[in-house]
């Protein structure tokens, strides 16, 4: 029973990891760009929620309405002003600039908020659970996060396949040069892509703050989880990313069941094994 429970919790945890990963996947898909500071932006969102809650006293979920547009704006402006300058044939500039951001963000957060661990109180949601039988129950919060992940991914999918901007983003992913001949301004398109990815990062950050303790140094680990979910699922496939998140969550839960110190290591090892066995990911994008 313990094992079934662990797997169940792992699946739900995978929803959070999919939320971490969706933004990373989207930015790589459109711009061939890996944001090393991705995890730190999730942590910024968490602190953003902390500020909103501290200032207004509302339930953390309401903070989403401030954090998500705030992150989208930050993402758009940051992409237009800074990151677009780094994009080109050479992979070094975007990697190293965002790696620099990662260190800068962690240390600024450290100066402003100290190294103390924080957590947002979500009230009744934290303890409420739905009993399945005597020994297994599903927490309301993990369920809410998992459902949000489903909604976000379905929403992104609909956006990509049903709207004209979504179509342009897919075309940009295929061929950045030719899409300019369609009247699309790459600099703007990249700004939109980062804005959307950052909005998802905002959601992920609020949930991170509600679900676990966080401090300025936890960003890189979130980047690695997100990265692993993307690679396990296969590049350019958002439902695959969800599957990748779930596999990672389950691997961690099983690891934790063996030994609490083994949780994160088990996730990384599962990722490396899958990387060796299926280097293209479990669900590589089908070329149409």
């Amino acid at each position: 029973m313990d094992w079934i429970n662990a797997i169940l919790q792992g699946i739900l945890l995978g929803g959070l990891y999919a939320l971490f990963a969706a933004g990373l996947s989207l930015m790589f898909g459109v711009m061939r760009f890996v944001n090393v500071a991705h995890g730190d932006f999730i942590v910024i969102s968490a602190y953003g929620a902390l500020i909103v809650v501290a200032a207004t006293g509302v339930h953390p979920l309401w903070a989403t309405f401030v954090v998500v547009p705030g992150m989208a704006l930050l993402g758009y402006v940051g992409q237009r002003i800074l990151l677009n300058r780094t994009l080109g044939e050479d992979i070094l500039p975007p990697l190293l600039v965002t790696f620099g951001f990662s260190i800068i963000i962690q240390n600024v957060l450290l100066e402003v908020f100290s190294a103390d661990s924080q957590k947002l109180q979500a009230g009744w949601m934290e303890t409420a659970s739905i009993p399945i039988n005597q020994s297994i129950s599903i927490g309301v919060m993990p369920l809410l996060i998992f459902a949000s992940a489903l909604i976000v991914i379905a929403g992104l999918q609909a956006f990509f396949y049903k709207t004209s901007l979504g179509r342009v983003l897919r075309a940009t992913s295929d061929d950045q040069d030719t899409v300019r001949l369609m009247g699309a301004n790459n600099a703007k398109i990249f700004g939109y892509a980062t804005a959307i990815a950052s909005a998802v990062v905002g959601i992920a950050g609020v949930y991170l703050a509600m679900r676990t303790n966080f401090d300025p140094s936890v960003g890189p680990a979130r980047l690695l989880f997100a990265f692993e979910a993307v690679i396990i699922g296969g590049l350019g496939n958002l439902w695959g990313t969800l599957a990748g998140g779930i596999i990672l969550g389950v691997a961690q839960a099983i690891g934790a069941q063996i030994d609490p110190g083994f949780q994160i290591l088990a996730g990384h090892l599962a990722f490396l094994i899958l990387l060796v066995v299926k280097p293209q990911g479990l669900f590589p994008k089908m070329k149409g």
Binding site: L224, I264, L265, V276
Partner: protein, 340 residues
Amino acid sequence: MSLSYTVQRSTRASQTSMSLTVVILIILIAAPWWAGRAELRLMVEIFYYLALAQMWSLLAGYGGLVSVGQQAFVGLGGYILFALAAFGGVHPIMALVLAGAITALIAMPTALVAFRLQGAYFAIGTWVIAEVFRLSFAQISALGGGSGMSLPASIVKSIASSRAGREHLVYWVALAIAVAAMALVFFLLRSRWGLAMTAIRDSEPASESLGVETYRTKFIVYVMAAGMTGLVGALIFLQKLRISPDAAFSVQDWTALVIFIVVIGGIGTIEGPILGTIIFFILREFASDWGSWYLILLGGIAVAVMLFAPKGLWGLITARYDVHLFPVGRRLIVNEEKSK
């Protein structure tokens, strides 16, 4: 009129700098007789950062392998030294050399996994691998688990009987490693591997079609850099006499700072990392009391350099004055001659 060509490696500046290098080297070897303890300690630190910077620059600037997981090999080198010395009864200096060699061996299967990922994803993948090592060593209770271990006093004494003797020995080892790291890059770039690596950096598909064995070249560069980085790691913790997973596999200390050094100095040159290391230590002397602000400043400078002068300060200098201290590049000299 006809043209003739001469391929030239050294320039006047580089010939002068070679003689200068010998003089500097002699002065540095004699440092225990003219420098105080604090200075020696600082110079050891300068040497190991210089060696780490050379290795990272070799990987990223020539091999096209951008790693943010070099802390994996620093930590491995350190832990292997401690394990061999504390449990294998190997003399610490011997253990240090072995640590470098064993790290290179471990880097081989590691490369096979990491090379499944390309470009930016390779970078993040190396970070995952470093985390795997950190978390694994935290699980080994014989090595002190998460809290780490100190080198037993009897082993410390076996390095040299007096404290000064130990410090001098560590200093010379550090100097030797820094020189070896630079020599490795220097001779590697002058070899036919150097040409192959430059070709890969400039155009992977093109060099592939010309028959340069990209995968093997990258593999060898990766393993050599890992071995040298492991050697440096062993030295770092031989000086510190204490190791823990968080210190040994610190991304900030062993990769972030090193990247900042190389980016500020100039990627893909031998001179860049030297310049970067000097700037890094000057900044640190002034700003180390600022705590996190110091790292924010350093990161800010590195980002600005990457955005506005991607070849680093050394790149700015060579663009202006055309000096090359270490003659690794081949220069084509076109001689115009009157036809007979």
